[in-house]
C-alpha cells in the first residue's frame, strides 16, 4: 500500500518536473513531421534524380545547374512572373496595408471597425471562393462586369477574354492579389498604430515634426517596428505561397503561355505532373531560400536598435 503511494508520488514528480516537455511534445512531434522533415527532405532530394519509382540517385548540383541554365520556362516566364508578382502584390500590398491601417487609425472607433471589416474580408477568400468571385468580374463574355463597363464606355468593341489571354492574366492576378492582401499583417499594423503611446506624437510636435508625412516617418513607423516586421513576414509568405490564383482563374496548369506561372506552380508542374521529384525539390529549395533571404532583409530593416 505504502509502496503504491510512493510510486504514485514519483510519477507525479516526473510529470511535474518535465511538464514543459509533456506540454510541448505533441506540437514538437507534429512540427518535426510536417515542417522539419519535409524541409530537410526537399533539400536532400534536390541533389538527386528521383522519379518516385526508382530509388533517388545522387547527381550533385545537376538540378540546380539545369534550373539556372537549361530551364527556359523558369528563366523567361516563371522567375520574371514571380518577381513581378512579389513587387506588386508583396511590396505593393504591404505598403497599401500600412497606408490603409494608418488612415483607419485616424478615425473614431466605430467607423474604424466597420471599415476594417470591409478591408479585411477579402483576405479570407482563399482558393475556391477567390476564383468564383473574380470569374464573375472578369468573365470573358459581355456579362462580365469589367467587359460590360468597358463596352459601355466604348473603350472596346468586343469582350476581352481576360482570364484566357496571356496579356491580361498577370494584371488580373495582381489586382486579385492586392484586393486580398489586407490580412493578419494589416491587422497587426493597425493595432500597433492605434495602441502606440500618443504622447510620442505630442513630444515629436514639440521637437519640430511639422506634417503628417514627417509624423509617419519619424514617429509612427519607429514606434511599431515589431508589428511592421510581422506584417512584412506575412506579406512575403503570402506572396510566395500563392500558387492557386493564376491556375484557378484561367482553369489550366500550366497557365496560358505560362503568363500566370509562379514559382509554386512550377514546383507542382515538375513534381506532380512530370514526376521529376529531384528537380522539383531543387525549385522548392530555391523558393525556401528566397523567402528566408527576404525575411532576413526585412528583419535588418526593422530590427530594434538598442
Amino acid at each position: 500500500m505504502r509502496r503504491k503511494q510512493k510510486g504514485f508520488a514519483a510519477q507525479r514528480r516526473f510529470t511535474d518536473q518535465y511538464s514543459h516537455w509533456i506540454l510541448l511534445s505533441p506540437y514538437v512531434l507534429l512540427f518535426v513531421l510536417f515542417i522539419i522533415i519535409p524541409v530537410g527532405a526537399a533539400i536532400g532530394l534536390s541533389f538527386t534524380d528521383f522519379n518516385t519509382i526508382a530509388k533517388p540517385s545522387f547527381t550533385g548540383l545537376a538540378n540546380y545547374i539545369n534550373l539556372l541554365t537549361n530551364d527556359a520556362v523558369f528563366m523567361q516566364k516563371v522567375l520574371p512572373n514571380t518577381l513581378m508578382y512579389a513587387v506588386f502584390v508583396g511590396l505593393g500590398g504591404y505598403i497599401l496595408s500600412f497606408l490603409m491601417a494608418w488612415s483607419l487609425a485616424q478615425l473614431t472607433k466605430r467607423p474604424r471597425m466597420l471599415l476594417t471589416v470591409i478591408l479585411y474580408s477579402p483576405s479570407v477568400t482563399g482558393g475556391v471562393l477567390l476564383s468564383t468571385i473574380w470569374s464573375f468580374v472578369f468573365s470573358g463574355d459581355k456579362r462580365g462586369l469589367v467587359n460590360y463597363v468597358l463596352l459601355k464606355l466604348e473603350l472596346i468593341e468586343t469582350p476581352i477574354q481576360f482570364l484566357k489571354s496571356p496579356e491580361y492574366l498577370m494584371t488580373v492576378m495582381i489586382i486579385v492579389g492586392l484586393w486580398s492582401s489586407m490580412g493578419i499583417g494589416f491587422l497587426a499594423i493597425l493595432s500597433g498604430i492605434v495602441n502606440a503611446d500618443t504622447e510620442l506624437y505630442e513630444a515629436a510636435r514639440i521637437d519640430g515634426v511639422r506634417n503628417r508625412f514627417q509624423e509617419i516617418i519619424y514617429v509612427t513607423i519607429p514606434s511599431i517596428k515589431p508589428q511592421m516586421l510581422f506584417g512584412a513576414v506575412m506579406a512575403i509568405v503570402n506572396t510566395f505561397k500563392d500558387a492557386g490564383t493564376g491556375v484557378l482563374l484561367s482553369g489550366a496548369n500550366p497557365t496560358p503561355d505560362y503568363a500566370g506561372q509562379l514559382i509554386a506552380n512550377h514546383i507542382d508542374d515538375y513534381g506532380f505532373i512530370r514526376y521529376e521529384m529531384g528537380y522539383a525539390s531543387a525549385i522548392s529549395t530555391v523558393l525556401l531560400l528566397l523567402i528566408y533571404v527576404l525575411s532576413r532583409v526585412v528583419s535588418r530593416i526593422f530590427a530594434e536598435r538598442e
Partner: protein, 301 residues
C-alpha cells in the same frame, strides 16, 4: 501660423484629442481620410456584394444583360440546387458539409490547446533549449507548405494518413503563427501570477487551466479565428491525399461545382461562395476586439 493655431486648438485646456491617432470624437480633419477610404472600401466590397446578390438570383436574372447589382425576385433556388446536384456523385452534399463541420470543430479545439500550452511553456517556463525552440518557431512563420508539397506527400503516406480522414486535421495542428501570437500575448501577463500559484503548490497543468486559459481569451479568439478560416476553406487534403469522396470537404465540393464555369452553374457557385465566406466574416466581427488586442502584441522583436 495656421499650423500653430491647430496645435493650440488640440491642446488647449487638456481637451480630449480629436485629431491624430485613435481620436475620441469626430473632427472635420477626418473628412479627408473618409474621402478616400470610403470609395476604396466600396470598390473592394463590390465583388463580394455581387456574389451575395447573385446567390439569390433566379436563372433568368443571372442571364440578364446588363449585369445588375440587385435582385428583383430573390430566391433560394441556388442553395437548393447546390444540395441537389450532388446526386450524381452518390454522396449527398450534406456529407461534405458534415465533414467540414467535424474538421472545423476538432481543428479549432486542437489549435487552441496547442497554442495556449505551447505558448505558455515558451513564454513562462525556463529550460535549456527554450531559446532554440523559440527561434525555430519564429523561423517557421516563414514556412510555405506548398514549397514542400512533395516531401509532405511522402510523410503522409508513411504515417498512414493517406486516404485517412485524419489527414484533414492532423497536419493543420502545426500552426506556428497561432503559437507565436499566443506566446507574445502571454509574455505580457505578469510572472507574479504564476509564481504565486507555484508557491501554493499548483502544477503547470493546473496553472494552465485556472490562470492562463482565462487570461488569454483575446489570443485564443485570434487562434480560433485563424483556425476556423483555415478549416472552413480546407481543400488541400481532399485534392491530394484522399481518393474516396466520403472524407472530402464542403469547400472541395463547391470548388468542383464552380469549375464548370457556365452561367447556369454560376448561381449555384455564388451560393456556395456565400456559404464559404459569410461564417468567416461573422466570426471575425464577433471576435474582433479580442483579435485586435492580440495583434497589438504581435510584433517580432
Amino acid at each position: 501660423m495656421k499650423r500653430n493655431r491647430r496645435f493650440e486648438k488640440r491642446h488647449k485646456g487638456g481637451r480630449i484629442r480629436s485629431v491624430g491617432v485613435n481620436p475620441r470624437s469626430f473632427e472635420r480633419g477626418q473628412l479627408k481620410i473618409y474621402a478616400y477610404l470610403v470609395p476604396i472600401s466600396i470598390v473592394m466590397l463590390l465583388p463580394i456584394v455581387y456574389i451575395i446578390v447573385s446567390a439569390f438570383k433566379p436563372v433568368d436574372e443571372l442571364f440578364a444583360y446588363p449585369p445588375r447589382f440587385y435582385v428583383k425576385n430573390p430566391t433560394f433556388d441556388n442553395f437548393r440546387r447546390l444540395f441537389e446536384i450532388s446526386a450524381d456523385t452518390n454522396i449527398p452534399a450534406s456529407r461534405y458539409l458534415f465533414n467540414t463541420l467535424v474538421i472545423t470543430v476538432v481543428r479549432m479545439a486542437g489549435n487552441a490547446w496547442i497554442a495556449v500550452s505551447v505558448g505558455y511553456v515558451l513564454s513562462k517556463k525556463n529550460f535549456r533549449s527554450k531559446n532554440a525552440l523559440l527561434q525555430i518557431n519564429n523561423a517557421a512563420l516563414m514556412f510555405v507548405s506548398v514549397a514542400v508539397a512533395i516531401p509532405t506527400y511522402f510523410v503522409i503516406v508513411y504515417t498512414h494518413l493517406y486516404n485517412n480522414f485524419l489527414v484533414n486535421i492532423i497536419p493543420a495542428l502545426v500552426a506556428p503563427t497561432g503559437v507565436f501570437l499566443t506566446k507574445q500575448f502571454i509574455d505580457q501577463l505578469p510572472d507574479a501570477l504564476m509564481e504565486a500559484a507555484v508557491i501554493d503548490g499548483a502544477s503547470d497543468y493546473l496553472i494552465l487551466r485556472k490562470i492562463v486559459f482565462p487570461l488569454v481569451r483575446p489570443a485564443l479568439s485570434t487562434v480560433l479565428l485563424l483556425s476556423f478560416q483555415g478549416s472552413w476553406i480546407e481543400v488541400t487534403a481532399s485534392q491530394m491525399y484522399l481518393d474516396s469522396e466520403t472524407g472530402k470537404t464542403f469547400a472541395y465540393y463547391i470548388g468542383n461545382l464552380s469549375l464548370g464555369g457556365s452561367v447556369s452553374t454560376q448561381g449555384v457557385a455564388a451560393a456556395g461562395a456565400l456559404i464559404m465566406f459569410l461564417p468567416s466574416i461573422i466570426l471575425f466581427i464577433v471576435l474582433q476586439s479580442g483579435v485586435m488586442n492580440t495583434m497589438a502584441h504581435s510584433g517580432i522583436k
